[in-house]
């Protein structure tokens, strides 16, 4: 929903009291719940009705997707491309759920209910706990606080925006891009914030678990480079499409930057391996 604190490894943490977990969870939930206000204002500014805005926060409950949807619809995008763009941002929740299902060990009957709360912040808090009991506690308290806060402040934001009149005059149309930027920058700097499923859990992340060895560093730098390349290429693709494609579609084209960068990286590492092999062969001949 907003910037999640960097993931801490699940294992190897000292035991901590339940009250500390509750305090952390309440803090994260309350701080982020407040930002529903920004969504309420943005959604109303994009032309959504009060009911539409509140249904989004109640039933979608994953902030980046909500901002993306109202942004695309507000710009005149067609319903399905707008929804597709929102779904692309929601994909990361599947990877949070993957890790959470191992950490929380939920019974099948509870899973459909818990699924609704699988988002950045609940995952960050739950995955930072040293054992299953505290992870469940952290997940639940963050979920309750955040869900309540996000929905109440969405309502207040939407009502407030209606009172303000033209949102563009107040600069409220940049709330969405500002939120996206706040989400994006940590992903470029620290991969664990973008994909906790890859890092949080069994193995401590390089540089976080006290094993930031020389062997771990080059991989980390490479990851960062790919992420910046994807962001830059996505921006170019999106803006290049604007004159030619209807609103909502350019973002779908821009997402192709992700597989494109991965493909180029794979080709380059394969070429480098070939060069190394032939250099080794020449050295042997000489």
């Amino acid at each position: 929903m907003t910037t999640a604190p960097p993931q801490k490894p699940h294992s190897g943490l000292p035991p901590k009291p339940r009250s500390a977990v509750v305090r952390d969870a309440l803090g994260v939930g309350a701080a982020v719940g407040l930002s529903g206000f920004a969504f309420g204002v943005t959604s109303a500014g994009a032309g959504m009705t009060l009911a539409q805005t509140c249904v989004l926060s109640l039933l979608v409950f994953t902030g980046a997707s909500q901002f993306a949807l109202v942004g695309a619809l507000g710009a005149g995008g067609a319903p399905l491309p707008a929804a597709a763009g929102a779904l692309l941002l929601g994909v990361r929740n599947a990877f949070y759920g993957l890790r959470l299902s191992q950490v929380l060990g939920l019974p099948a009957a509870v899973r459909p209910l818990a699924a609704h709360w699988v988002i950045d912040e609940t995952s960050a808090v739950a995955l930072a706990q040293p054992d299953r009991r505290l992870a469940r506690l952290g997940f639940t308290v963050t979920g309750v606080t955040l869900y309540a806060g996000w929905n109440v402040t969405t309502l207040l934001g939407a009502l407030g925006a209606a009172a303000l009149g033209d949102p563009a005059a107040w600069g409220l149309d940049v709330a969405g891009p500002a939120v996206f930027l706040a989400l994006l920058l940590p992903m470029l700097r620290d991969r664990s914030a973008a994909a906790p499923s890859a890092r949080a859990g069994a193995a401590p992340a390089p540089g976080q678990g006290g094993e930031g060895t020389a062997t771990a560093r080059p991989a980390r730098a490479a990851l960062l480079r790919h992420e910046v390349a994807v962001a830059a290429l996505a921006v170019v693709l999106a803006l290049a499409c604007v004159p030619f494609l209807p609103a909502g579609v350019p973002v779908l084209v821009a997402v192709l930057a992700a597989p494109a960068v991965l493909a180029v990286a794979a080709l380059r590492s394969r070429a480098a391996a070939r060069r190394e092999r032939s250099a080794a062969a020449r050295a042997e001949e000489a």
Binding site: Q52, A83, L87, G171, L181, L185, A234, P243
Partner: protein
């Protein structure tokens, strides 16, 4: 009506994705390629949305007060401002630039 259709698709899709993660066997999503794509797709989408919502006006590209607001948000982020402050700074700077430039 179109808006409600978009909302319904988003509600169903976002929930399905969340439930999928909790329900599928880990091996399916844990492949290295899937993990890399899952990390990179939101980055591409966010970067594109930032650019589009800042520089697109219908089917034309413009640099207007929104760019100033976004730049201010970037500065606030680099100074490690809290989330709500970042959004507030962007909004206030955009409004101020609009007011000044008429």
């Amino acid at each position: 009506m179109g808006v409600w259709i978009a909302i319904a698709v988003t509600v169903a899709g976002c929930y399905a994705v969340k439930l999928l993660g909790l329900s599928v066997p880990a091996a399916v999503l844990e492949r290295p390629l899937m993990r890399r794509l899952a990390a990179l797709v939101p980055i591409a989408a966010l970067a594109a949305l930032i650019a589009l919502q800042t520089f697109a006006d219908g089917r034309t590209l413009v640099v207007d007060a929104r760019a100033a607001g976004l730049a201010a948000a970037a500065v606030a982020l680099l100074l490690r401002a809290p989330f709500l402050v970042v959004v507030a700074v962007a909004v206030v700077v955009t409004a101020a630039v609009r007011a000044l430039t008429g």
